[in-house]
Amino acid sequence: MARILVTDDAAFMRMQLKDIVTKLGHEVVGEAENGQVSVEMYQELKPDLVTMDITMPEMNGVDALKEIKKVDPDAKVIMCSAMGQQGMVVEAIQAGAKDFIVKPFTADRINEALSKAL
């Protein structure tokens, strides 16, 4: 069981991710609605893994990833993206993201990503 921080600006998406992640037997320790909040919560909660949406207000997912990596180079971050964000995803991978999942999410895919990253 891993402690997971979910980041997405849509409450809807957070709810869904949380559901899936919880059903997979992990614990969602926090939900952040933008990159800035995610970075702050990361430092506070020290989760085992962060899911990070890419397109968000305040601070986007890639920048947030970079911030988190500054604080903790070993941080495990999985990017959540939609179709058509190839460039951002690649940038995130370069910046140290462990994996990415593409919306719409499936439980299988999330499971795969989580178990490979953890």
Binding site: D9, A11, M13, I20, V62, G87, A107
Partner: protein, 661 residues
């Protein structure tokens, strides 16, 4: 997974995002070079896409996806904002709204969007290579790779230094969507072990996406199994076969690029501008819950008045004190619950800019819409109901009020008309005003029409003030537009607007100066469910008259009530006003104990007309909770609802407007 649980929040958020897109699009139209606006729109479209795809609303997802492509191009400055782009995007947003609405109505949210998508794609300028490239060279990737001379030399040298060359064939999952990014991850994983000297298809093709299997040659000192395992750590990799590379031919093949160099481009991605309104902490509460809370609280209010009655009977100081305290606290509670139900009128207003824009285009008018006081708060129930009447009034203004640019020029006005929508609080009311600087109401036209329709005779007309003539346009079946246009003037006229507003307890009035413009003002109550009333007695029955319409109460002697033209009238401060007897209106039985000759009268107003209402006695002022009479007793004459009094008796609440002639 069952997505039904999410539908509500999905709808909420979708609507928010659609609204944001709307607002930003309008902004973008004015400042087409501000890319931060494009970013905002992009983000909303993007979130929408993600949610819709998750919920399985394919049409919304594909439409937003195409919108996104266009926006992305604008964002990267490879496409410019033109009216066409905005128009098509607006049409797309409209389609999205329709679909979301259909979902809200319990339907599938399906819609044929192929045409729109085609238009978006056309704008996108000959399709985006990333999305449309044919799956490249899948077959040859399986064959053994050829190396050119230079690569073979590198290979030989590496072998001398103890490196092994492995050929790897990677197949990605069928469902994998961002194949290029995935391929990049595979390449990165392999590069942990050594150097990749060749990939097939080429790196460029890999990057273009849509390649689900590819081969590569890597020089490494790690055992094959380790390399393979690293690749399997990457998600969405179906298989990764690795074998020692055996050079087959020595023919020249196209040179490969250094993989690392290819990723530079990705880093040029723009940083997102972050400028969003500071959000206060909120939670979402279902409106039903607040309504339930309000209902419960109303019960408390009823009990409170019962307690007040009891306490005053028992005359126990401690009890009375407690009850008084409870009254004060519950008053605070009431205002708190009421504010919870309050939402900014913005919710209604913010759909207008786009509507006005569309109408102006359709009707060839040129105008600006100014919205003032969008943050003014109104009860949710009122908000829900006020939209349609306002739409009607705005249409009316643009269609009949604002003149065409040519006419305006002739009249010596600025070519651009202006329409101002203003909302503000005043006392216990909220005012919404809509002012245009158009042609105003044409007295002659209205008068002629009224006579033609038999509403008035010529003689009556002479006596009417301009104000009264203006209000004629609110009469049913009245339309002065010469031609019935698509927009307004279909006969379902302003009378519908007027009665809607009146049913909300509001008032509609018109001020207009011919040639200068008109102003429609709507006065609305802050809330609908708790009223301050005057309780009056008619025989054994109690009626509640809303304080908002009462001007004064009088005690007159019976003989002061006169007869004029078969109508009972009184002299009220120098004006002759009609009186009606509640007893007669509601056919209440005469009470046996009729003592004095003093007659209590409640003077009520509607607009600037007054009427006296004869009652038996005044009981006093009381806050009452308005309860509807239920579905079986709809549209009872002059009754707007009922309430339960402290002693458990039911009082009917009067609608004084119906009694004013």
């Amino acid at each position: 997974m069952d997505t039904n649980d999410y539908i509500e929040i999905f709808l909420d958020e979708s609507n928010e995002h659609l609204q944001a897109v709307n607002d930003q699009l309008l902004k973008l139209e004015k400042q087409s070079d501000d890319l931060s606006i494009v970013d905002e729109i992009f983000r909303s479209a993007h979130t929408l896409k993600g949610m819709a795809a998750t919920m399985g609303y394919e049409d919304i997802a594909s439409l937003t996806h195409n919108m996104e492509n266009v926006l992305d191009k604008i964002r990267n400055s490879s496409l410019h904002v033109t009216t066409e782009v905005i128009d098509v995007t607006f049409t797309a947003v409209e389609a999205l709204e329709e679909m979301v609405e259909s979902i809200a109505g319990g339907n599938t949210g399906k819609k044929d969007v192929t045409d729109l998508i085609a238009r978006l794609e056309a704008i996108e300028n000959g399709k985006q290579p990333e999305e449309s490239k044919e799956p490249v060279a899948a077959k040859e990737a399986l064959e053994s790779l050829d190396l050119d001379e230079y690569q073979l030399t590198v290979l030989d040298q590496a072998k001398e230094q103890g490196f092994e060359a492995y050929q790897m064939e990677v197949v990605l999952d069928e469902g994998c969507i961002l194949k290029a990014a995935r391929a990049y991850m595979v390449v990165e994983a392999v590069e942990q072990h050594g150097e990749i000297i060749k990939t097939s298809p080429t790196v460029e093709e890999l990057e273009a996406g849509e390649v689900d299997r590819f081969s590569l040659i890597v020089l490494t000192k790690s055992p094959a199994a380790d390399v393979k395992q690293s690749v399997h750590k990457v998600s969405e990799v179906e298989s990764a076969d690795i074998s020692l590379y055996v050079a087959v031919k020595e023919e020249a093949a196209p040179a490969t690029e250094e993989i690392a160099a290819t990723t530079e481009e990705a880093q040029t991605e723009q940083k997102e501008e972050t400028q969003k309104a500071v959000t206060s902490k909120t939670i979402r509460v279902n409106l039903e819950r607040i309504d339930d809370l309000m209902n419960l609280f109303e019960e408390v209010v009823i009990d409170r008045s019962r307690l007040e009655d009891l306490a005053s009977e028992i005359k126990n100081d401690a009890l009375q004190e407690t009850v008084e305290h409870m009254s004060r606290v519950s008053e605070d509670m009431q205002s708190l619950i009421l504010t919870m139900r309050m939402v900014p009128v913005e919710q209604v207003f913010n759909r207008f800019p786009r509507m006005v824009r569309g109408l102006a285009k359709d009707l060839n008018k040129n105008l600006d819409l100014d919205i003032i006081g969008a943050e003014t708060e109104l009860d949710r129930t009122v908000i829900d109901e006020i939209g349609d009447p306002l739409v009607h009034l705005i249409r009316n203004s643009i269609d009949h009020g604002i003149e065409s640019p040519e006419e305006r020029k002739k009249a010596g006005k600025a070519e651009k008309g202006s329409l101002t929508l203003r909302a503000f609080h005043s006392g216990n009311h909220v005012f919404i005003e809509m002012e245009d600087d158009g042609a105003g109401i044409n007295r002659e036209k209205v008068a002629a029409k009224a006579i033609q329709n038999g509403v008035l005779t010529e003689a009556q007309l002479e006596k009417l003030s301009d104000q009264e003539v203006n209000e004629l346009i609110l009469a049913s079946g009245f339309s002065t537009a010469e031609t019935v246009s698509d927009i307004s003037g279909r006969g379902v006229g302003l009378d519908v607007v007027k009665s809607k507003i009146e049913s909300l307890g509001g008032k509609l009035s018109i001020e207009s100066t011919q040639g200068k413009g008109s102003k429609f003002s709507i006065q609305l109550p802050l809330t609908l469910s708790i009223l301050s009333t005057l309780l009056v007695d008619v025989s054994e029955e109690i009626y509640a008259i809303p304080l908002s319409s009462i001007i004064e109460t009088l005690m007159l002697e019976e003989k002061e009530i006169m007869d004029a033209h078969g109508q009972r009238v009184i002299d009220f401060r120098g004006n002759i006003i009609p009186v009606v007897s509640l007893r007669k209106v509601f056919d209440v039985e005469e009470s046996t104990t009729k003592d004095s000759s003093i007659q209590p009268i409640v003077v009520v107003k509607k607009g600037n007309k007054l009427t006296g209402i004869l009652v038996d006695s005044f009981i006093g002022q009381k806050e009452v909770v308005l309860k509807s009479l239920g579905a079986y007793l709809k549209d009872v004459f002059a009754i707007s609802g009922a309430t339960i009094l402290g002693d458990g008796r039911v009082a009917l609440i009067l609608d004084p407007n119906a009694l004013v002639k």
